[in-house]
């Protein structure tokens, strides 16, 4: 069953009186519980594609369905509800709220839903990412790797159907990246979440079940790494 379905999706911007096409007629669907990478050179449109898939932006043409919800017809506030309900995010720059403690950052998605007694759930997730003892620290008091692990805990707390990760190791050193990647895949497997990764890193991309390559706003290949490996 497809959790994400894109049909003829295009994204254009008006700039200085000209139309700039960033994504052109993208078609693919993602099976629930699968893992997938979107790779491509800088400026190829992969982050724009991630934004559209996650409901952060609206396509100029075509249709996007997320968990059978048609995003194209929704207002920004309705898409915000969808994100809170079905989507988890991991960002390259971690994107933690600087004025919230690690624990509070993790709790936000569920607090927003109005769920009560979530402290234990959040602490459990912090335990899983190995940062239970840093729960009262602010992001500025944590290293990059630690911040990304907090961000992981936040992404999984609302039990999302789909997790979008934008260059999750882009700001980390090799050793920390390894640990974070293991955590992402480990938690993802445990929760049975669909994972969509945007990355430059081929080593990371090949860990997913499927790689979509885009160039100049178009899908140039859609392959399964196991078939590429010798």
């Amino acid at each position: 069953m497809a959790i994400l379905n894109l049909q003829n999706v295009s994204k254009t911007y008006q700039s200085a009186g000209r139309t700039l096409t960033v994504l052109d007629n993208i078609n693919f669907s993602v099976e629930a519980g699968s893992t997938m990478s979107i790779v491509g050179p800088s400026g190829s449109g992969k982050t724009t594609l991630l934004g559209l898939c996650a409901g952060l932006d609206r396509s100029s043409k075509g249709s996007i369905e997320l968990n059978n919800i048609k995003l194209d017809d929704l207002s920004e506030d309705q898409r915000a509800e969808v994100r809170n309900e079905h989507v988890g995010f991991i960002f390259q720059n971690f994107q933690l709220m600087p004025t919230l403690t690690a624990l509070e950052n993790v709790m936000v998605p569920l607090e927003l839903r109005g769920v009560k007694k979530i402290k234990l759930v959040a602490m459990d997730l912090l335990e899983k990412v190995g940062l239970a003892d840093r729960s009262h620290h602010f992001p500025a008091q944590l290293s990059g790797g630690e911040q990304q692990r907090i961000s992981l805990a936040r992404a999984f707390i609302n039990k999302p159907q789909i997790l979008f990760a934008d260059e999750p190791t882009g700001s980390l050193d090799a050793e920390t990246s390894e640990k974070v990647i293991d955590l992402i895949f480990g938690l993802n497997k445990e929760a049975g979440t669909t994972l969509v990764l945007v990355t430059h890193d081929n080593d990371l991309a090949v860990k997913t079940q499927r790689i979509i390559r885009i160039k100049g706003g178009k899908v140039v290949s859609d392959e399964q790494p196991s078939r590429l490996l010798p």
């Binding site: 952060l56 309900e85 960002f91």
Partner: protein, 465 residues
């Protein structure tokens, strides 16, 4: 979206509670800065509350002390010597009466050989009937009337190093200084400094040789009536006769009204000056909030990503600003109440009544309401741009060309600010004509100040497509 109610609202957790919690959390590292933003509100509200409280207390004090200001139930005055028919009228009005003739003259202090232009008041009778001539020694206020003695204003005594028992020469007569005059009905320290007063008994005025044909003398007659006489009705009845004989009159209620109006005008003027200062401060607040909001773009984008609606994001920061505005206003009101305790000390020489310093709760309430209103109104302009911040800002800092220029909410805020200024000014001035002129002046000034601080920048970050 199965957990949503039919009306689209989420079940369970108190939405407002979470908004307040987030506003509190988000303010953590900015509280000091937010208070700095609001410092101009604190000072503006302090000034307004101090002035409102002073006005409030003055109104009450004038009401209570009006009789002491005039010193009698009725005062009749003329600058012409009274002829027989006027004398008949004056005598017919009441038996408990006093007469005072006042004029400007030079006096001479033999001990220090100094001369000075003063206001001579030649008095006969028991005036004042309300309040007293405050003198040093105390009994001098009554005893000087029986001898060729004078009460000399304390500033004159100091200036010429005169003491009780010394002499002062007025015209051709020399008077013994019976006492130092500290306070007389209706007299302020300021007026005493400009034209210091010397009281002498009326009986000795002729002897000074200063009362001659052509002398510029003001004649006053003071009356005290028993409780049965309605003074206002009496003067109304006699008004045509007073007019015919060029007699002026003053009653306690007239005095109350005139003095009250003078000081009410003064407090209104001072309130408007403080209001202008507050508005200018608010422009500063608006600019500071604008910068603050700009710094919050990323946090808001993160919240939007996690599912916060635009209205909720707006409310989180609105709660912060209103809370800080309320705190600033309360602090301002407190400071104003403290300042008000010292105003009587500063103003005692300018105001003819004893000013009390009781806490004016209505002034405090007005000040707090005003502070919250202005901080909210001027913070709204930068805050409404929060609604347009896109969650895409978490992924990139690309710029969309959407601006706030055509945002209806922005124009609604401008209209609210205008309405607020109009209503506040109308409340102070009571006439629409002056209100429109004042508001127009304020708008020109605000436009001039605002020229250098556009609030469009926030909207120039990534906005919804």
């Amino acid at each position: 979206m199965s957990d949503y109610n039919a009306d689209g609202k989420r079940a369970g957790y108190g939405a407002w509670g979470w908004l307040f919690l987030m506003a509190w959390r988000d303010s953590r590292r900015n509280r000091g800065r937010l208070f700095l933003f609001i410092s101009s509100i604190i000072l503006g509200i302090a000034a307004l509350v101090a002035i409102y409280s002073l006005g409030d207390n003055l109104r009450n004090d004038i009401d209570k002390q009006a009789a002491g200001l005039i010193g009698a139930d009725l005062e009749i005055s003329t600058n012409k010597p009274v002829d027989a028919s006027v004398k008949k009228l004056i005598d017919s009005l009441g038996r408990t009466k006093s007469e005072e003739r006042s004029f400007a003259s030079m006096v001479y202090f033999p001990k220090s050989e100094g001369t000075r232009l003063v206001q001579i008041k030649a008095l006969e009778g028991e005036f004042p009937y309300y309040g007293s001539l405050e003198t040093e020694p105390v009994e001098a206020g009554k005893s000087f009337r029986k001898h060729p003695a004078a009460l000399v204003d304390k500033t004159l005594m100091l200036q010429y190093n005169a003491r009780v028992g010394d002499s002062v020469k007025i015209g051709q007569l020399t008077f013994v200084i019976a006492g130092s005059l500290l306070k007389a009905p209706g007299q302020t320290g300021f007026s005493a400094a400009v034209a210091p007063t010397v009281y002498i008994p009326l009986y000795y005025l002729e002897g000074t040789g200063l009362s001659q044909k052509g002398s510029r003398i003001n004649y006053k007659f003071y009356y005290k009536f028993d409780g049965k006489v309605n003074v206002d009705q009496l003067v109304k009845k006699l008004e045509p006769r007073f007019e015919k004989d060029a007699l002026n009159y003053n009653t306690i209620s007239n005095q109350k009204e005139n003095t009250g109006k003078s000081f009410s005008d003064l407090t209104k003027f001072l309130s408007l000056v403080s209001f202008i200062a507050l508005l200018l401060g608010c422009i500063g607040v608006g600019s500071s909030i604008h910068i603050y909001v700009k710094e919050k773009v990323n946090s808001i984008a993160i919240l939007r990503c996690l599912g916060v609606k635009s209205k909720q994001a707006f409310l989180i920061y609105l709660i912060q600003i209103v809370s800080i505005g309320l705190a600033g206003s309360v602090m301002g009101a407190l400071l104003g109440t403290i300042i008000q305790q010292f105003l009587p000390v500063v103003l005692k020489d300018l105001i003819p009544v004893e000013i009390t310093t009781s806490t004016s709760w209505s002034s405090i309430g007005q000040g707090i309401a005003l502070g919250v209103c202005v901080s909210l109104l001027f913070a709204l302009l930068p805050l409404i741009s929060l609604r347009k911040i896109s969650p895409l800002n978490t992924l990139r800092l690309s710029v969309d060309n959407g601006t706030m220029q055509n945002d209806k909410a922005r124009w609604a805020v401008y209209a609210l600010i205008l309405l607020f200024i109009l209503l506040f000014t109308r409340n102070q001035l009571n006439t629409w004509r002056e209100t429109f002129f004042f508001t127009a002046g304020i708008l020109v000034a605000l436009w001039y100040v605002d020229c250098n601080c556009s609030s469009d920048d926030v909207a120039n970050t990534q906005v919804f497509s």
